[in-house]
């Protein structure tokens, strides 16, 4: 439900960042979403597409990288991906593990292209 707000925040960040790159236009914005972040990818894409329609950002692509939940074992130091909520260390079977990632909701990168003939050339050669 709040994916509209999230999409809006992503687009605001894109517009702010674009102020720093005159002579270019944005092609793709990359976000990282943890599986514990309570964000529905499809809903986010839907909202993003709806919000850029018929705007200057209409061709902007959204890249989503999903980050799994990772834990670190307090006993043996092993980092591992938690599947099916099983947070037991696969190496030493300890239950003393702490979450180190998986609730990301981050802007990762923005791809920009220069305006002008070179940009057209670059596009057609792809």
């Amino acid at each position: 439900m709040h994916e509209m707000g999230i999409a809006n925040s992503v687009l605001e960040a894109v517009r702010t960042e674009m102020g720093l790159h005159p002579g270019t236009y944005p092609c793709k914005v990359g976000v990282r979403i943890g599986e514990m972040a309570a964000i529905d990818q499809d809903a986010l894409r839907f909202c993003f597409e709806a919000m850029i329609q018929e705007t200057d950002l209409a061709s902007l692509e959204l890249g989503i990288e999903v980050c799994p939940r990772r834990h670190r074992c307090q006993v043996c130091g092993r980092d591992f991906v938690v599947r099916d909520y099983d947070s037991r260390c696969p190496q030493c079977a300890s239950l003393e593990t702490t979450c180190i990632s998986g609730d990301e909701l981050e802007l990762a990168y923005l791809e920009v292209e220069e305006y002008g003939p070179s940009a057209v050339g670059a596009k057609s050669s792809q």
Binding site: H2, S9, A13, V31, L107, V112, A122
Partner: protein, 226 residues
């Protein structure tokens, strides 16, 4: 094509305001708790019972969020503590700016405890930091014991699970041990209290948890000052 690294939170503006709020709460020694649940789990009832039990002179205030109506604030005002309703007008969660705005005419130095009742929703409020010291998730026994697995984010991020409406256990097929186990699968070591806001059963444990949290926060704040 150039790739520019952004490397910041999507909700960095919300997080900035939340961090300011957290610093202000700490400066004035105000323990802020953010109560989250689906609609109808009993957040308001839990607050009613809490305000009923707390001594009148206690320095407590409540912000209560809903999409529409002042109903909750009206329910909670009976206990003579400062209460303010936040009506979001459609937004499915509270955000830090709403908290900042609604705190504007309260003096934080007059408070020790700020209870925030979020909009009834088990999903979206978990993404928005309000500057709270802890989130509390309320789940009622009419909702199904697999809710922690279906909505892991909020159970993962909350310090305490309040299992409410335990007076209904004889009438509903709810496995309370499975619910606790599921919550601890998502959040190992999660604290759980079982209450009935209707009969008052278990409220003692909830008030003990709250009292302990307030003491711990006070020592933390004092340690920071010294």
């Amino acid at each position: 094509m150039d790739r520019v690294p952004l490397e910041r939170k999507v909700l960095s503006e919300n997080d900035r305001i939340a961090a300011e709020l957290r610093a202000r709460f700490q400066e004035h020694g105000v323990l802020c708790l953010n109560l989250i649940s689906s609609p109808g789990s009993g957040k308001t009832s839990l607050l009613e019972r809490t305000l009923e039990i707390l001594p009148r002179r206690d320095r407590v205030a409540v912000l209560t969020g809903d999409i529409q109506t002042e109903n909750d604030a009206n329910r909670l005002k009976r206990f003579h503590f400062p209460v303010k309703q936040i009506t979001t007008g459609g937004t499915c969660h509270l955000d830090a700016r709403m908290i900042e705005r609604h705190l504007a005419d309260w003096k934080l130095e007059d408070l020790d405890l700020l209870l925030i009742e979020n909009v009834g929703n088990l999903v979206c409020p978990s993404s928005y930091d309000l500057g709270e010291a802890a989130k509390i998730v309320v789940l009622s026994v009419t909702e199904g014991e697999d809710k922690p697995l279906k909505y892991p984010s909020i159970f993962f991020k909350s310090d305490l699970l309040v299992l409410n409406k335990i007076d209904l256990l004889p009438y509903v097929p709810f496995d309370i041990d499975a619910a606790a186990e599921n919550a601890r699968k998502v959040h190992p070591g999660m604290e759980i209290v079982k209450v009935s806001c209707l009969t008052g059963n278990g409220l003692h444990e909830w008030m003990m948890w709250l009292g302990e949290k307030r003491r711990a926060y006070k020592s933390l704040v004092q340690a920071t000052v010294n």
